[in-house]
């Protein structure tokens, strides 16, 4: 037997002793996720099955997080469709506005993700949960409908790329910089169909929030999933959130990887993705003079408490540049409360930023911070495609919370290392 960690999870859920890359399997799911954009389509497909029940009402999760609080009538209708389905089918994990958070921050926090789980979501950033040693991946709405009906999904077993991490990230360098660096290195289709498995002694130095960010953006390299080993850091998070006992899978010593990369975390610089693809990366030292109009700190990639703490440590006692709109979105209500108790919200407001209720809003050009023609934003989000945050002639630069906060202060894309210590 020689399987990667991802392959082992798939094999176990397909009741097979072994799987090989390229093999097609039908596997049992631990969780099926949808949001206010994708679930209504899945619900219409589900209706075609003529079934009166979902496969397991505790294993379907519905989160209205994209165009919420309802941005317009169409969004309101979408949410209504999902809400009615949730009540009709007694879906336990439906999160109304007030409990809702950005799905990929919310599910782990609510303890819905366990190590060793197999999870699909009708949202491409479902790959986030690999941080906790789960196999999770994004699918379409028909997949979600089929999964709600049967509790199963088909998979083509992925081959894998291995990223062996050593050393430790620098003071202002985060998981975001590492994953942007990796995407820049392999390209937006560099990991197509594959797993990205992170290993090595450097893993222990990464916080769980760093790992969520890294796995979240695996899809931006085309990957099927990203995954970390279940070590002490992951177990500590799981113990605090998930009631289930972690099921720990580890890659075999002789597991086959199609590609192998050695990365010294100490060599990673703050990194920025220039328009209009995430792989168009430059280190902060190569950025040059880029004037900006807006900063967005939040999203399923970087809206967690450690992201807000870093931003606050930079914004504290300072003012954002007069021409910059700074929008900060804690990803869940728990994170919002935590930020309030730690005094971060006061720091943000006093610096001239606005703080929003949890929503995906600006990341996909939905609402809460749309760009006009020729405007530029630095965002801690995950995609900078043409027109992603608004007008087709606007630009998004992807960066870490530290770079975003530093840029808010100067009005230009800026290096947090160069701000005076305060």
């Amino acid at each position: 037997m020689s399987m990667t960690m991802s392959q082992k999870i798939l094999a176990a859920h397909a009741n097979l002793d072994e799987v090989r890359p390229g093999q097609l399997i039908m596997a049992d799911l631990d969780l099926v996720l949808g949001n206010d954009i994708t679930a209504p389509v899945a619900i219409r497909e589900f209706a075609k099955f003529g079934m009166d029940k979902v496969f397991d009402k505790t294993k379907v999760v519905l989160v209205p997080d994209h165009f919420t609080p309802n941005k317009d009538i169409k969004a309101a209708e979408q949410c209504k469709c999902m809400r009615e389905f949730a009540y009709d089918h007694e879906i336990e994990n439906y999160f109304e506005i007030g409990q809702m958070g950005i799905e990929h921050a919310l599910l782990p926090e609510q303890g819905l993700v366990g190590a060793g789980d197999l999870i699909i979501g009708a949202d491409s950033h479902t790959c986030t949960y690999g941080a906790l040693g789960a196999f999770s991946t994004g699918v379409g709405s028909t997949d979600m409908a089929a999964a709600m009906a049967t509790g199963k999904a088909w998979f083509k077993v992925p081959s894998a790329m291995r990223f062996n991490l050593t050393g430790k990230l620098g003071r202002w360098v985060s998981g975001k910089d590492l994953i942007l660096h990796i995407i820049g290195m392999v390209g937006v289709d560099g990991a197509l169909y594959k797993s990205m498995e992170f290993t090595g002694p450097g893993v222990a130095t990464l916080t769980i929030d760093d790992r969520f960010t890294i796995c979240n953006m695996a899809i931006e390299a085309g990957a099927k999933n990203g995954i970390f080993p279940v070590d002490a850091v992951a177990k500590e998070y799981l113990a605090a959130h998930c009631k289930r006992v972690p099921v720990v899978y580890a890659a075999d010593a002789d597991a086959v990887y199609e590609e192998h990369f050695e990365i010294d975390l100490g060599s990673i610089r703050p990194t920025v993705s220039f328009p209009h693809l995430p792989d168009n990366t430059r280190t902060i030292d190569e950025v040059g003079e880029v004037k900006i109009d807006q900063v967005v700190i939040g999203s399923c990639t970087n809206g967690r408490i450690s992201d807000l703490r870093v931003a606050a440590s930079i914004l504290k006692g300072r003012k954002v540049a007069r021409h910059v709109r700074t929008i900060i979105l804690p990803a869940t209500q728990t994170i919002y409360l935590q930020a309030m108790e730690e005094g971060l919200l006061r720091i943000f407001v006093e610096s001239g930023a606005v703080v929003s209720t949890p929503t995906c809003g600006p990341c996909l050009g939905g609402h809460m911070g749309i760009l006009a023609k020729d405007e530029r934003a630095v965002a801690t989000t995950n995609r900078n495609f043409v027109g992603r945050m608004g007008h087709v002639q606007s630009e998004v630069y992807l960066a870490s919370p530290a770079v975003a906060a530093a840029s808010a202060l100067t009005g230009y894309i800026s290096n947090p290392e160069k701000l005076e210590e305060k």
Binding site: V41, K48, F49, G50, S124, V139, W154, D189, Y193
Partner: protein, 173 residues
């Protein structure tokens, strides 16, 4: 055994879902039958009137990258497309193709030219793709297991309906 013959519509690498059907059209409707008239309007104006059930999409690397929204698959299905040949597919597009009953065949497409008549035949072991102009035959592995079952019945919705009715039948017995 499955046999199909169609006329090639050749596209390049990295054809994203917005090129297949523009997001600005999706704001008004996501009904694929209504969106058919706008297929690839930004990269191949006029294609919508040419494409039909005798057409076959031939693409390069990473076909269908971008959004996982299924309408980019369903709109091709509405236009009559049954088969897409590409050097590689974005993974969500591959899944959505299978689930909607379109055959995504991975192969080296670099020798196929616009308008070529391409024959596709499939048995339990392999898929053979023949370009009539060059007489070049490419052999690809057959779909197997559940994917084969899903494709043969036209997608995952009919697949599950069939399975459900079988379950109910057996319960009745």
């Amino acid at each position: 055994m499955f046999e199909y013959s169609g006329k090639a519509i050749c596209l390049g690498d990295d054809i994203n879902t917005d090129y297949i059907i523009s997001s600005r059209r999706k704001k008004d409707t996501i009904n694929p039958d209504e969106l058919v008239q706008y297929i690839m309007e930004d990269i191949r104006p006029g294609l919508a009137s040419e494409i039909n059930k005798n057409s076959l999409i031939v693409a390069g690397e990473n076909f269908g990258c971008g959004s996982a929204m299924e309408v980019a698959v369903q709109v091709l299905k509405s236009a009559g497309i049954q088969i897409i040949l590409a050097k590689s597919f974005a993974r969500s597009y591959y899944r959505n193709s299978v689930n909607n009953g379109i055959l995504p065949i991975e192969m080296d497409t670099s020798e196929i030219r616009e308008g070529d008549i391409v024959q596709v035949s499939m048995d339990d072991n392999r898929i053979l793709v023949t370009d009539i102009r060059t007489n070049m035959v490419t052999s690809c592995p057959a779909f197997n297991g559940k994917i084969k079952e899903i494709l043969s019945i036209g997608g995952i919705v009919p697949y599950i309906r069939q399975k459900e009715s079988k379950c109910q039948n057996s319960e009745d017995e």
